[in-house]
């Protein structure tokens, strides 16, 4: 198959798959509504004002997380790296929960808190950017542990209802993104474009820093850029939807298993694959125990893990 080698056909195929999934997911909800011919005015409003923005948010956030995950895996030279590994999600959660404590009646404050928190976390991590991969990772893990501790401290101070809200935020919620959809789609597209521009350098970096430097890559510069880019994308994803685990860890690996390790195809496929996985997970979250909803972060893992393990075994055989 030449879609592995030809990025344009890969892009087109994935775009079509994403649109098909989006169309089916759009119809699913409290009741099935045919997206192509809604039978009433209310049905078309439900489709285009409730389900569509939420699907697009899921797609953009999923793609952003998968891209950030792929970058962190190269940057840190570690297959276990994911968008939250350096503590960005932890500091964002600290920001969000602080907002819940200090401004409990303003819903928008949570998103602002998450955004500010994420950037505080990124600023701290940037101090360690000149350390080697292993030490940067170690610093990140320790920082993540620190933020987790602060988070637990804050949760202990919350009232009972507040604890439920804090956990709801931490397990991800795509229904109330404070960021406009066009911004999220723009960030998704920009992130993919940046990834593609950097893809050749990323391939070289995958060989090791010395080899990359020998091949003409300005390694310290690239690492710093990558750290900033991946963190910024993660910060926006977390601001829009809370912390949604698993997508950023597994989707890049899944795409490597399917398409090989060249970054051009891995990044294109991750941007779409993450989006599709999160659209599917969120549709399941909306419909499985309807009228109640499940936290989407739980479903990304429940859907993603079996697929990933199956591919891992098949690949080995």
């Amino acid at each position: 198959m030449n879609i592995r080698k030809n990025p344009y056909s890969l892009f087109c195929v994935l775009l079509l798959i994403s649109l098909a999934v989006a169309l089916i997911a759009l119809g699913m909800g409290e009741h099935w509504i045919n997206p192509l011919s809604p039978s009433s005015d209310m049905e078309s409003r439900i489709l285009w004002e409730l389900r569509w923005p939420r699907l697009l948010t899921a797609f953009a956030v999923g793609g952003m997380l998968a891209l950030a995950g792929a970058w962190f895996q190269v940057l840190l030279g570690n297959p276990l790296a994911e968008p939250y590994v350096l503590g960005v999600a932890g500091s964002a959660a600290v920001g969000a929960v602080s907002a819940m404590i200090f401004m409990p009646d303003a819903a928008w404050a949570v998103s602002l808190g998450a955004f500010v928190g994420a950037w505080v976390g990124i600023t701290v991590v940037l101090f360690f950017s000149r350390l080697g991969s292993a030490r940067l990772l170690l610093a990140g893990v320790v920082l993540a542990a620190f933020w987790a501790a602060v988070l637990m401290l804050l949760i202990a101070l919350l009232p009972e209802r507040g604890v439920a809200l804090a956990y709801a935020w931490m397990m991800g919620d795509l229904s109330n993104s404070a960021l406009p959809i066009w911004l999220l789609m723009l960030v998704w597209a920009a992130a993919l474009a940046c990834g593609l521009i950097l893809s050749l350098s990323l391939d070289k970096l995958l060989l090791g820093e010395k080899h990359a430097a020998a091949l003409g890559v300005n390694v310290p510069h690239l690492r710093k850029l990558l750290l900033l880019l991946a963190s910024a994308v993660t910060a926006l994803a977390v601001t829009a939807a809370g912390t949604i685990g698993f997508v950023g860890l597994v989707v890049p690996h899944l795409m490597r298993l399917l398409l090989g390790s060249l970054h051009q195809s891995v990044l294109i496929a991750s941007a779409f694959g993450g989006g599709v996985l999160l659209m599917l997970a969120d549709t399941a979250a909306r419909t499985v125990i309807s009228p109640a909803e499940l936290p989407v972060g739980v479903l990304t893992a429940i859907i993603g893990v079996p697929v990933f393990l199956w591919l891992l075994l098949r690949r080995n055989a």
């Binding site: 409730l50 949570v110 919620d173 229904s175």
Partner: protein, 294 residues
Amino acid sequence: MVAEVDNSQEKIRHCCGHRQPASNGAFFKKLLVLLLCLCSTSPAFASERILALAPHICEILYAIGAGKDVVGAVSYCDYPEEAKSLPRVGSYNRINVEAALALAPTMAIVSDEKMIGVQKLRSLGVKIVQSHPEQVDDVLLDIRHIGSAVGQRKRANQLADSLQKRLDKLDASMENLKTAVFYEIWPTPLLTAGKHTFINNVLQRIGLRNVFGDVELEAPRVNVEAVIAAKPKIIIIPSEKRDVAKRIRFWKKWLGEDIRVISVNPDLVHRPGPRLLDGMEYLAGQLEGLQIEH
């Protein structure tokens, strides 16, 4: 134990009332016994040092005149005003046993016996009384129960009787309308009250039908689409600080101009305590003025 002491006191009064003294000596002897009994029993109440380990328990204790015996409370015990200055020994899910013991309590009234630290207190000799009303009627029972546990049976019964009267009046005035209501605990994410909740029962008692009252979860997260499909006539927002005007605009957009939105102080309807009837009467009053088509 409290009940026994109470009985003995009554017996003695009984004896004195019916038998005329045969002689002055015998009379004084009896009087002395009576005085001794009173002296030895009444301090048993006064010396009860109570920890009120939930906001509604704190409210009940103050309402039945046992406020002076409360030595400690947990966070969010904020009513009445005097309760705000009580020493705190924990939060909604755990207590600090050391801080609690420092107040030398003899009794702790808890909402949940499984709360962290409560078993430790029990093993250290503190009497544990539980009050966890799950329905409106349980609130009145619990007020009587707490009253007899802390030696304020009379005032507790008075309070419970007056609340019962108000409840009966409310029941009588309610035609069995079952107006569909959506109870918006929180807007983002949209949380509501499910089947096994106190508030679900409160809504039933004022003639409303919680549209998510058959969901088995306690505080299910729902989406706007599910609310539209459930077709509520009324939205109740348990908060006075939330931007209610914004929520009204939001719900009118999805449920039409006819939707009614009522906000209520959550402490009045969520706390199974003496102010519950205030909250229920307030909601019933608001509903009366709405004139909803069924």
